[in-house]
Amino acid sequence: MAKMIDPEFAEKVAKEGDKSLFLCYQCGTCTASCPSSEITSFKTRKMIRFAQLGLKDDILPNDDLWDCTTCYTCQERCPRGVKIPKIILYLRNLAAQAGYMADAHKGTAKNLFIFGHAVSFKDKHEKLRKSLGLDGVPHTTLGSKKALEDLKTIMKANGFDSLIGYKEEK
């Protein structure tokens, strides 16, 4: 089936992602500099080209999109000043909205609702802290119900709970 280009999609990426998108002239310095492109099928230059053409079906379901470690080497070396990681992060936002989220990532995201942190906190971690002379519970959202509630209110106001499929356990 012929692939359809979608200029509106491209315009949206340039507007909401970064306006430098159309500055890319496809030299490939980014791919040559990318530690993921070297060993995976993710090719930075190609992903930017997909975005310029608005080939959203080549972008949104594409696992390659998630192989960027956001190391910024591409942006540092880009002769056209394209803010590549910012564009990739925006494409990921669109992929997430379209439902392409890995379970592992959803799990990490849910930790933010439970702990206010990206990783879990259990008794063993509290003991470990105490054994080093630290307060067992850090003075963060872990030590303050109000702080955790405030954080959850902020995330819910952004619709982050429904985006990741998080439901409060009653």
Partner: protein, 284 residues
Amino acid sequence: MKFSMFWGCIAPLRYPGIESSTRDVLDALDVEYKDLEGASCCPAPGVFRSFSEPTWLSVGARNLALAESDGNQLMTICNGCYGSLFESNYELRQEPEKLEEVNKILKKVGMKYNGTTEVRHEAEVLYRDMGEDRVRGKVKKELNLNVAVHYGCHFLKPTETRGLGEAEKPTILDEIVEWTGAKSIDYRYKNLCCGAGGGVRARNPELAKAMTLKKYEAVKEAGADCLVTPCPFCHLQYDQAQPEDGLPVLHISQLLGLAFGSDEKRMGFNYHRIDVTPVLEKIK
């Protein structure tokens, strides 16, 4: 000047020896600081910014607003926290309409951010605010170590906004390491990412590991005694994903702690996966 400490997630919850070492180093240098009370995850750029930029921005703004009401600069000990908070701060300062949007959300919890918080990284505070004489002045034990310095990605990059100099041949960390008497050795792939960032460690651990292995082979070949990083997430990746005979991994605070003669028991080395004993034996 006083700092509000933003400890992040990986250091306080997985490698708390990094937190206690940092406290001891800051105390030794007479740096005034307090914990940033009620802080949350920065939130991490890999997962949270990848999923929802607006959520990432407003959760970051909440942390920035907490430091603002302390009236202190915010200090991180992690490249991820530094990257997230520095970048969200930058966006909020550059784009008033984004700040306005974020403040509509913060208002729901009775908060407001005015854009005045300065985001700092411990390593950069050591380098620019403390300086060589003050740090060297606290060294009680010259460390006879060959150190493979790993900068990580989000400490210096994007250089355009960080303003810490260029990232292809940086020297900041190498200099700090050498203030302890250790030697920062050159090695292949020095600027290579640890592999964990951008949500890759969670979603594609094999890819993260492949990058870690390249680093592992290069630092072994160069004859380093240990890897030193300013980032607990790189620290975690190297400590967990190198083979058993991998190099011991130290956070910059742990290295300084050893040089300052801090209490080794508070550095948490017994909780590292890769045995740190060879390093401790060598500096005896």
